[in-house]
């Protein structure tokens, strides 16, 4: 017997999602082309077609706390192939933004930390300075500790030294004149939404 769950639909929630778009989710006829082409479906708890279905049924908590919205790499294969022109990858972004605003704990904390450390780096200098971005990410995400424990760190360190020897790093960050403009821009965009 397949497991059954009772769902109480909330047909208003899709309007809230669409206010982050529009994404055109209501055109979905469940052909599953999005899921069939998704390169990371193997790591998802809800498949892309299920995300859309859940969105139309207004399953807010399920959607905003699921893995899939963070697993999505934004490769745009689903959006490209959707016969109904639904912006599926963009809808995944909208859900991430909503999840952060709602203060829902992220089930893929490294991914969220990656985005936040990246944008913090942009805020500081206007451009990304790779060395400080990667260092901050490794510390803040706990990846440094994990790699140390898993014995992966030596591969990364050797690679890092090789890259340095080959002159692949910028050692002095470039700064831009419009730095203040960028700070103000990000402050406005993130006002009251998250820590940036």
């Amino acid at each position: 017997m397949p497991e059954t769950t009772t769902i109480y639909p909330d047909y208003q929630f899709i309007q809230e999602i669409e206010s982050y778009g529009p994404f055109g989710a209501e055109a979905c006829f469940q052909c599953r082309k999005c899921t069939n082409g998704c390169p990371v479906a193997f790591a998802m708890d809800l498949l892309p077609d299920q995300i859309i279905r859940m969105a139309l049924l207004g399953q807010r908590d399920t959607l905003l706390s699921c893995n899939s919205i963070w697993i999505c790499i934004a490769c745009e294969t689903c959006t490209t192939r959707c016969p109904n022109k639904i912006k599926i990858a963009e809808l995944m972004d909208g859900l991430k933004e909503m999840a952060i605003q709602a203060g829902i704990p992220c089930p893929q904390p490294q991914i969220r930390t990656l985005h936040e450390t990246f944008l913090e780096n942009v805020r500081k200098r206007g451009r990304v300075f790779e060395l400080s971005f990667i260092r901050n990410y490794m510390f803040e995400s706990g990846e440094l500790r994990r790699k140390w424990n898993d014995g992966e760190l030596s591969y990364d360190l050797k690679l890092g030294l090789k890259m340095a020897a080959k002159g692949r790093y910028l050692f002095r960050p470039s700064k831009i004149d419009g730095q203040e403009e960028i700070r103000e821009m990000l402050a406005y965009a993130f006002a009251g939404k998250s820590k940036l």
Binding site: A74, L114, H115, K166, R168, I182
Partner: protein, 289 residues
């Protein structure tokens, strides 16, 4: 010929080799690259993932700067973008800031912005192919490669404004033009895992391992790319990916601009290649290039 140029952050750092090869071939081809003054990060995956407004406005600032007069002259008609993700973000911002929701954003674009070009599509235009062909001194004879386009150069088609998005041909045309053989294969636009190399490295191992397996199966000696993120993910972890897959992957990953440079006999080409992790020289030696 003069074009505006938006290099993007990684071409200042880990993708310096890509930046040098672009500069190198453009100098030889008499194309002047005028960097957008004071450009900023486009926001990349991180901005569009967690803050839509930031993603449009960060990219939009660069478009505004690109419409300002360059070196006391008129702004150029074309804006060349080597990083496919920057390309995607700048195009997305242009569409949003010209669309029916433009009032929503705090950046206003002037009436005309330059045409935004992803670099491989730029070099695959007929006039550019002819321009390069005139300079080819050492055609890459017997060089058998697959062309790997990745995601952002051609997707989504409404943003990239590309017709052959499921089977793009820009790099294939460029390879044929410099005497190389581009082998047809089915994974041209399959994702490499991109930024998850940091946050979920196992995704990259899985996706890139698939690419290598197929590239070997169709008899490719190399993989040609136009994206520095794809280049990094394919080039830097071959030993690790081989170990995880229990296979032996050892394949040079070239930027198409490096190969154009080699074919045109640009002397610095060997220097660009020396930045790679997977050995790019053995194959070239074997082929007498």
């Amino acid at each position: 010929m003069k074009v505006s140029y938006y290099p993007g952050c990684s071409l200042e750092g880990t993708a310096k080799d890509y930046a040098m090869s672009i500069q190198g071939i453009c100098t030889r081809l008499n194309i002047q690259l005028d960097e957008i003054p004071d450009w900023n990060c486009c926001g990349a995956t991180s901005a569009h993932s967690i803050n839509h407004r930031a993603s449009i406005e960060l990219a939009g600032r660069n478009l505004n700067l690109a419409t300002r007069p360059v070196r006391f002259g008129l702004p150029h008609a074309d804006l060349l973008v080597p990083c496919p993700l920057c390309f995607n973000r700048l195009k997305t911002a242009a569409l949003a800031l010209e669309g029916d929701q433009k009032e929503h954003y705090r950046i206003t674009l002037p009436d005309s912005v330059p045409q935004i070009w992803e670099i491989a599509n730029f070099f695959a235009e007929d006039n550019m192919l002819r321009r390069v062909a005139k300079h080819v001194e050492h055609p890459l004879k017997n060089f058998k490669t697959v062309c790997y386009y990745g995601c952002m150069a051609n997707r989504p088609p409404e943003v990239a404004e590309i017709a052959d998005y499921e089977n793009p041909m820009s790099l294939d045309r460029i390879m044929a033009n410099i005497g190389a053989t581009a082998i047809a294969w089915p994974f041209k636009t399959d994702c490499c895992g991109a930024s998850q190399v940091l946050s979920r490295p196992e995704t990259v191992t899985r996706l890139v391992g698939k690419l290598f397996t197929m590239a070997q199966q169709v008899g490719a000696q190399a993989i040609v790319v136009s994206c520095q993120m794809c280049q990094a993910n394919l080039d830097m972890y071959q030993a690790k990916i081989s170990a995880d897959w229990g296979k032996h992957f050892n394949m040079p990953i070239y930027y198409f601009t490096e190969l154009i440079g080699l074919a045109m006999g640009v002397p610095e080409a060997k220097k660009w290649l020396s930045g790679h992790i997977a050995d790019p020289f053995t194959l070239l030696r074997e082929l007498g290039l």
